[in-house]
Symmetry: C2
Subunit: 208 residues, 2 copies
């Protein structure tokens, strides 16, 4: 684990970062880290400014409100359009496994995990963040994926997949439910792949 | 929707509830409602006292800390031991459907939904609450259920079921992902029942 940012330097010599190039990005990185670690409620404009080493007024100057900051910095940790194209490229019977491998791959990378847990944690606390999950996870990623398979009721299928993805993020990475938390990514992917496959392509998923 | 508690009476005539019989229960009811509605972070000892119409010191007198209050009042909205017995009573091939019907039944009742969303929301924000989900949902309910089926790797199976239950609570009731949020309980139960069945009894769930 890297040493905490602030104890690394003598506080007296630690100058605040001037407004300008890199500041906006430093604020975004600090905000992403804090939303992931602390959740939406306990992250404040002030705590983000402190972490980024900038004056608090700069955070509102660049991002407006905490909600706007959240919506701007907490994006999916991958390009949803590219991912959909890549996942659809293969046999239809393997879509569940490809999606499971992809999801675990994202979640096992520190940056991807921080963003996804941040998104889910925030969605649990805050309606604005719930809207973000709806938009980013369902509208921009899972719904186009289901639609690309040419299945009926693609929105319902996408929502069911989203429920298992969100539940996996919660159970394995937030609540750390054992033994799910310590299973290898491959074992988890193998366990949830048939769930994804059925939600996306199964005939019995849709009420007659 | 019932009228808000406080506007129903003239504030000047509204006396605080005296310490004594019913006070402890009134605090518990107020705390349960607020944890469900506001989540763990935004519920405070003071807001609970206000809602219950008692002096804030009585909340700490009866329950100690906010964490202790939470752990005490937010129990599962059903008797886990009785539910396990009832769910195991039937053909093994129908356990997924019986569990799905049971879960939806709990979640479609206002009290059950408030407690379960409160539990999941709190678990997203707070380690103490995450521990409570581990204990209440997994250790006291789903693990005994899986163990009662006599399957191998019952803890892992219980954790996988928990991930889909938590994901369902989040997607349908917290994030309100459409069309999952507006589907009938029967349609949702039909969609997730085979997932529960496979997590609980499927051979391919366990890595060889």
């Amino acid at each position: 684990m890297p040493p905490p940012r602030q104890s690394a330097r003598d506080p007296r010599s630690r100058g605040r970062r001037p407004a300008g190039s890199g500041t906006r990005e430093a604020i975004a990185a600090a905000a992403r880290a804090q939303f992931g670690l602390l959740g939406y409620d306990r992250t404040s404009m002030r705590s983000v400014a402190l972490e980024a080493g900038v004056d608090p007024t700069l955070v509102s100057h660049f991002y407006g409100s905490k909600q706007q900051l959240f919506v701007t910095v907490v994006d999916l940790p991958f390009d949803a359009g590219a991912a959909v194209g890549q996942l659809l490229d293969g046999p239809r019977a393997g879509i569940g496994r490809r999606l499971a491998d992809f999801v675990l791959d994202v979640l096992e990378q520190p940056e991807g995990r921080a963003r996804m847990t941040g998104l889910v944690r925030a969605a649990a606390a805050e309606d604005a963040a719930a809207e973000l999950v709806r938009r980013r996870v369902s509208t921009e990623f899972l719904h186009p994926l289901a639609a690309g398979l040419g299945v009926d009721a693609s929105e319902q299928r996408a929502a069911l997949v989203a429920s298992q993805v969100v539940g996996l993020v919660m159970a394995r990475y937030v609540v750390r439910l054992e033994p799910l938390a310590r299973l290898s990514p491959e074992a988890v992917a193998a366990a949830v792949a048939p769930t994804f496959q059925r939600y996306l392509t199964g005939r019995d998923v849709i009420a007659p």
